[in-house]
């Protein structure tokens, strides 16, 4: 089957259509930035964008995604490898502790900013409420989303 991931057409042979996107990404395509946390859409560690909307890849069968544009954490940086504003804010504000949930947090934030470039604090909280951070880095995540939004609005 064919999937369009980070702007590229990727072929996967002999894949059960029911396979969750998470495991297709990790085991078949080697895109391991998307993480397994719970397998039941509770923690958000597996968040990716499907047609610019954040989804939990752990419960999304690949079968329905043949026409979709899928974006993972590996697809956010620019062509020259430069980090995008969300990634850069996460680095600059030193958000991560263990870092395991952060690719899902970043994808949730990226999805929010693609549909709402200038979110309020409440909108940030609600958009990120689907993602758990056991280390408790929420305060810096919130700051990072605001910083990224500010830079994007300023056209940086």
């Amino acid at each position: 089957m064919k999937l369009k991931i980070n702007g590229q057409d990727r072929d996967i042979e002999d894949l059960d259509q029911k396979t969750p996107l998470l495991w297709a990404l990790r085991d078949e395509l080697g895109l391991v930035g998307t993480k397994y946390g719970c397998g039941v859409s509770q923690c958000g560690a597996c968040t990716v964008l499907v047609n610019n909307v954040p989804v939990k890849s752990c419960t999304m069968p690949v079968g329905g995604l043949t026409d979709a544009e899928i974006t993972t954490i590996e697809g956010l940086a620019g062509e020259g490898g430069e980090l995008n504003p969300v990634q850069q804010a996460w680095v600059d504000l030193d958000v991560a502790q263990c870092g395991y949930c952060q690719s899902g947090q970043v994808m949730a934030a990226e999805g929010l900013l693609r549909s709402n470039p200038n979110p309020t604090d409440d909108e940030i909280d609600q958009a990120l409420a689907a993602n758990i951070c056991r280390c408790g880095t929420y305060i810096r995540i919130r700051q990072a989303v605001k910083q990224a939004a500010g830079r994007m609005v300023a056209g940086e």
């Binding site: 059960d16 396979t19 969750p20 495991w23 990790r26 085991d27 078949e28 080697g30 895109l31 391991v32 930035g33 998307t34 993480k35 397994y36 946390g37 719970c38 397998g39 039941v40 509770q42 923690c43 560690a45 993972t72 954490i73 590996e74 956010l76 940086a77 980090l83 990634q87 996460w90 680095v91 600059d92 030193d94 958000v95 991560a96 502790q97 263990c98 870092g99 395991y100 949930c101 952060q102 690719s103 970043v106 940030i124 909280d125 609600q126 990120l128 409420a129 689907a130 993602n131 758990i132 951070c133 056991r134 280390c135 408790g136 880095t137 929420y138 305060i139 810096r140 995540i141 919130r142």
Partner: protein, 748 residues
């Protein structure tokens, strides 16, 4: 009685964790081992080219000799590499420990490449993540490691220029002569420095902290960018050639054995390569009996596991029941337990008191819930075992795995990988033992992957517990008597479970004249072990709340009573707190939170202090409570004295994270057991705090000159009592049950 052995590993870990205060006072000199290039390549895992998994940054090797006076520094014409010795579990040591080396090396931080070190006890001493010990155990040793390399670079420059070494200075990786005519970079000097004699530790002069360029500053994590690019840093991300994917099903009631399983049916499933039974080694901390399935992908292995049907012999399996334990505790609290500590005469104090107060406190078991489920990649061939493991205790993992597969530890190579959270869970290497056993039997490299359901069902839990408290205040409103009748759990009928043992040193031991602590233990088979700030994470809730109960009974301000209990500034024993440092953080937190100010109805402030892991921490919670028992935490203010701060960014992050983790645990988290089985299976019934509930956390450090300690744990314990005291101040209700959801409260 159980035939399972719980003793081996938990004892080792307990000793390590309990010994941390002692270890922190030992300033170990780093091993000065001169290595030739081949040895170094071997030791750092830089041989073999293609299989440098886990070492995200390839080390470029120059043609000329490299300066490598110890296991921490390597400088050649291509750059400066600093090795990070301990497992990174989110506590920030992959950044903070190399900062110590870089400071005394006198190199610009942005010129340093940090590489995770191999496991090598000779060169690095103990390598583990536990007890908030990395900073105290390594603070001086790693500075000396950097100073050693710096001294050799200065010697090389002195020789090159024919100038006295003491006329030369260093900064940002450059050696300069005082007159400004001569200068050379470390990279230029490295090969000459490599042939200089290694200076004695005594001859090294460490920097005056006033001149620090790196320590105490805000430094961002060395893996931040790699994390943002989704690079394979974690255990779960590892792939080795020819690898298959494994799952392992154990009995839902711990101690159960496999009688039969539908192995042929499983083997016929798509992608399944093999399925087999492992007997276990009789140690609950190593290898429990179960059924392994080997498949071509994680998903196929997970699906096969769902179809697996196992007949278990539960004759000796756990029948643990939380509801039974609660009933037992309800009766045990009325009987004296074994005396743990007894100073003064509590009964006389109670008899002569002005007021007496009783309260029965209880708290549930909790799971670690680290976000990366347990996993380990293992390859066994020709009598050698190679492991790629996210573990907090790699040395012990090597020993355990060697035993499991029947080889010498010398034939085990373990690559330590970033851990997606630890919190104590990965001090125990059961997942690693399983991977080793499965790889040996399967005959191919495997990645063992636990599901979240496995992770929650086979955790080593923080034990629940119960405290029947009784205390008194005298005519002056001073705390005069304190009795804690503690009911905990035991695996072996002799010792309390790890994290479930009290001592006379628990606050306010040594501070109140008449104190009695008694302990009773309920037999328990589900494994219990270290969980962020073991013991302290629950004792603080009880004792920090009960001090407030007594202050209220005396009609006094809690802050005044707390400071009175702390008394004159003094050190309480070699591992105990310093009451002066304690009082200072209590006063600082109160001042920053504007303690005593008028608040509207339904709003209150609560304060608590706790000393753990050599850290003195006070917290003030500001909460609002409505008639529906909905609690909004408006702000938490923290004052901490942990000695000098190594990385201000990391330190602040640890404290804020501990407070949020503390809130999550206080309000929401509980695992319960019936018929030996854990009742919660995933995050839908184990509701960790999410962003909308996360309050602002205001952090203040006292930058004291005392020996530094770590911050992975000590900011956690004071949160629960601070919030419960604030709830009381807000609405007059004393909550003695954790999690608070069990008492009808919700965090909003």
């Amino acid at each position: 009685m159980s035939t399972l052995d719980y003793s081996d590993l938990s004892t080792v870990v307990d000793e390590v964790l309990a010994g941390q205060a002692e270890a922190s006072r030992r300033n170990r000199t780093p091993q000065i081992v001169k290595l030739d290039r081949r040895q170094f390549l071997k030791a750092t895992g830089a041989v073999g080219g293609g299989l440098m998994l886990g070492f995200a940054t390839p080390v470029a090797f120059a043609k000329t000799a490299a300066l490598q006076p110890n296991g921490y520094v390597r400088i050649d014409e291509t750059g400066v590499v600093i090795y990070a010795k301990n497992p990174e579990i989110g506590q920030g040591v992959k950044t903070s420990l190399p900062m110590l080396v870089a400071e005394e090396l006198d190199v610009a931080w942005h010129d340093v490449t940090v590489v995770q070190s191999p496991i090598d006890q000779v060169r690095y001493g103990m390598q583990f993540a536990g007890g908030s010990t990395a900073i105290p155990m390594n603070y001086e040793a790693l500075r000396r490691a950097g100073a050693t390399a710096r001294a050799m670079l200065v010697q090389a420059a002195a020789k090159r220029w024919g100038l006295p070494a003491d006329s030369l200075s260093t900064q940002d990786g450059v050696v300069r002569h005082a007159n400004g005519t001569e200068s050379a970079t470390y990279l230029e000097l490295a090969s000459e420095a490599a042939s200089m004699p290694v200076p004695s530790s005594a001859s090294l002069k460490l920097k005056d902290p006033a001149n620090f360029q790196i320590l105490g500053k805000r430094v961002t994590g060395v893996d931040n960018e790699a994390l943002m690019r989704g690079e394979p840093l974690f255990g779960i991300d590892q792939v080795v050639p020819g690898m298959k994917y494994a799952v392992y099903q154990k009995c839902p009631a711990i101690g159960g054995k496999v009688v039969a399983a539908n192995l042929e049916e499983i083997k016929a499933r798509p992608g399944v390569q093999d399925a087999f039974v492992l007997e276990g080694n009789g140690n609950a901390m190593d290898l429990l009996p179960g059924v392994a399935i080997i498949a071509d992908s994680t998903w196929q292995a997970f699906e096969a596991k769902k179809a697996l049907r196992v007949e278990w012999d539960e004759g000796e399996a756990s029948e643990d029941s939380w509801s039974n334990a609660e009933q037992q505790a309800d009766s045990l609290r009325n009987e004296p337990g074994t005396e743990i500590a007894n100073t003064g005469d509590v009964e006389a104090a109670f008899a002569g008191s002005a007021k007496q107060v009783s309260g029965f406190y209880r708290y549930a078991f909790v799971s670690h819930g680290q976000l990366e489920p347990q996993n380990c990649t293992a390859s066994f061939s020709d009598g050698k075992l190679e492991l790629w493991a996210p573990t907090q205790m790699p040395g012990r993992g090597i020993a355990s795995a060697a035993q499991i597969v029947g080889i010498s530890p010398a034939n085990v190579t373990l690559h330590q990988l970033r851990c997606g959270g630890g919190f104590g869970r990965r001090l125990y290497n059961d997942f690693l033992c399983e991977a080793a056993a499965i790889a040996k039997r399967a005959g191919v490299p495997i990645k063992l992957q636990w599901t979240r359901e496995d992770d929650m069902a086979y955790d080593l839990y923080r034990a629940g517990g119960f405290h029947q408290m009784h205390g008194s205040v005298d005519d002056d409103g001073k705390i005069s008597g304190w009795r804690d009748r503690f009911i905990t759990f035991t695996h072996d009928g002799r010792r309390p479970v790890s994290g479930g043992g009290m001592s006379g040193g628990v606050f306010p031991g040594g501070l109140v004249e008449n104190v009695r602590i008694e302990q009773t233990a309920i037999p328990w088979k589900n494994r219990c072990a270290a969980w962020r700030a073991p013991g302290s994470n629950v004792f603080a809730f009880v004792v920090g709340s009960f001090v407030h109960e007594l202050a209220h009974a005396a009609g006094r301000d809690h802050l005044d009573v707390l400071l009175e209990v702390l008394g004159e500034p003094r050190q309480l024993g070699p591992r105990g707190m310093h009451t002066g440092r304690a009082a200072e953080v209590v006063k600082l937190a109160a001042e920053k939170a504007d303690w005593g100010r008028a608040l509207e109805q339904g709003r209150g402030l609560g304060v608590a202090f706790y000393y753990s892991h050599a850290g003195h921490i006070a917290e003030v919670a500001d909460v609002s409570v409505n008639d529906n028992k909905q609690v909004k935490v408006n702000k938490v203010t923290v004052a901490a004295d942990v000695g000098p701060i190594v990385n201000m960014s990391g330190a602040e992050n640890q404290v804020q994270g501990s407070v949020i983790d503390g809130l999550s645990t206080l309000f929401n988290l509980s695992v319960t057991f019936e018929k030996g089985r854990v009742q919660q299976s995933n995050f839908d019934r184990y509701a960790m705090l999410r962003m909308p509930e996360a309050p602002p956390v205001d952090v203040h450090f006292v930058n004291s000159d005392y020996p530094p300690t770590g911050l992975g744990e000590p900011a956690f314990p004071p949160l629960a009592p601070a919030v419960c005291n604030a709830i009381f101040a807000a609405c007059g209700q004393r909550v003695r049950t954790m999690p608070l959801t069990d008492a009808g409260y919700t965090l909003v």
